[in-house]
Symmetry: C2
Subunit: 245 residues, 2 copies
């Protein structure tokens, strides 16, 4: 796949933001304006919808740039301006219906929603990695940070260039991903918002338990999905500093 | 109660160690040799047995001193050279028997073991605090760090001079302490060793859930009871720095 830059501008705090497309998939690359010779790269995961997520992604990118990391993200399949998938939309509607009825979400709904997304997104992130690591100055090692947690787990399992991952336990996880988790071995930091309304806390704990890595740390904080305390950004920076610098 | 210093010597890295007794209870105070004008104090909790615990306590004290904190600890009731209590020894034997038989530990055994310890230890730590804060240069605010977690929770509830606490979830917790936990409001960091053989993980998670504080963070790491990763010491320093400095 071919990465084509579509715009670039320098943000006021010495971060260079470059938008690109990867065979039509929108993405953003942020680099420190005066990067070290070999800049480690952190892929920023998100729940889909780059425009909607932009302010929070930019905050994370600035934070990483201040510590000498390049960051990059791409749009998820079926999100933002990318074509919708009818089966995924149906699964999303079924999920919403279960949540609104305060019923347990059936495992087959989670499978229908998440597994096709993982199957499509993971090769795209790997292609993005090929293209990004071919750019001058971006050398790795590579980290992955954020959601969707199922994408992160599968990437951590299959993509050997990812040396460490921060997982954000804030979405439904298929059983197949729990099975993947047992075979993951890279150092992990998992964030869990203890009072996240849209997240199954026990499943997040089961996922943490299942992960095969000998170095894994769970940080759980009070508050809802978007209430991650600011100090976790610093902790994340130190985690990636230990494993990527 | 009266604090009497029994020895002092300067450790090689500029930490002053002073042993004391508090009406016969042995204790240790560590201060930076050139402390700031008003030195915050962290009380170092432990499972009992100052001599046995000394190397680990000293490591924590050195780490704290490097960040400008004074630290102090006292022996627990029934531990080290302090007189044994026959009912506590009986409860400890009952606990051991249940664990060796791989049976669930009866709640009444935990109550018999831990509640009298809490009832005796908490007033002693408060008396130690009175005496320590009367010393020149030690001013607070005060933190509590470590186990026994039931002592820490009760202290966090009743001792208003304790502004923040690090809880080490590594021991059995009576139901009465879970009730106490709901009324605790100070900022908390709880450490949990995910594979701690002697610790009930679900109970530790229940305790974290019960704690009433709006700022509470759980750090869970792979490994057994004594396998807390070194980076947690730095995290603890930053936690206390945020709340006591």
């Amino acid at each position: 796949m071919t990465l084509t830059f579509t715009s670039d501008h320098c943000l006021d705090d010495d971060v260079l933001e470059r938008r690109f497309t990867l065979d039509g998939i929108p993405g953003i690359l942020w680099t420190p304006e005066n990067p070290p010779a070999a800049t480690p790269l952190i892929l920023l995961g998100h729940p889909g919808g780059l425009d909607r997520m932009y302010p929070r992604l930019l905050g994370r990118a600035r934070h990483c740039a201040a510590s000498g990391f390049a960051t990059a993200t791409i749009e998820l399949p079926g999100a933002g301006d990318r074509p919708r998938s009818a089966p995924a939309e149906q699964a999303r509607a079924d999920l919403r219906r279960a949540i609104e009825a305060a019923e347990p979400v059936p495992a087959e709904v989670v499978d229908r929603l998440v597994l096709p997304l993982v199957e499509t997104a993971v090769p795209e992130w790997r292609a993005a990695l090929d293209a990004l690591l071919a750019l001058p100055g971006i050398e790795g090692p590579v980290g992955f940070s954020g959601g969707i947690v199922s994408v992160a787990v599968r990437l951590a399992l299959v993509e050997s260039r990812i040396a460490a991952a921060l997982l954000f336990a804030g979405s439904f996880v298929p059983r197949a991903i729990l099975d993947d988790a047992r075979h993951v071995t890279i150092p992990l930091l998992m964030l869990l918002q203890w009072d996240d309304e849209g997240n199954d806390r026990q499943l997040a704990l089961d996922l943490f338990d299942a992960l095969g890595s000998t170095e894994k740390t769970l940080h759980a904080n009070t508050g809802g999905h978007t209430g991650v305390p600011g100090f976790e950004g610093d902790d994340a920076g130190r985690f990636f500093g230990r494993h990527l610098m």
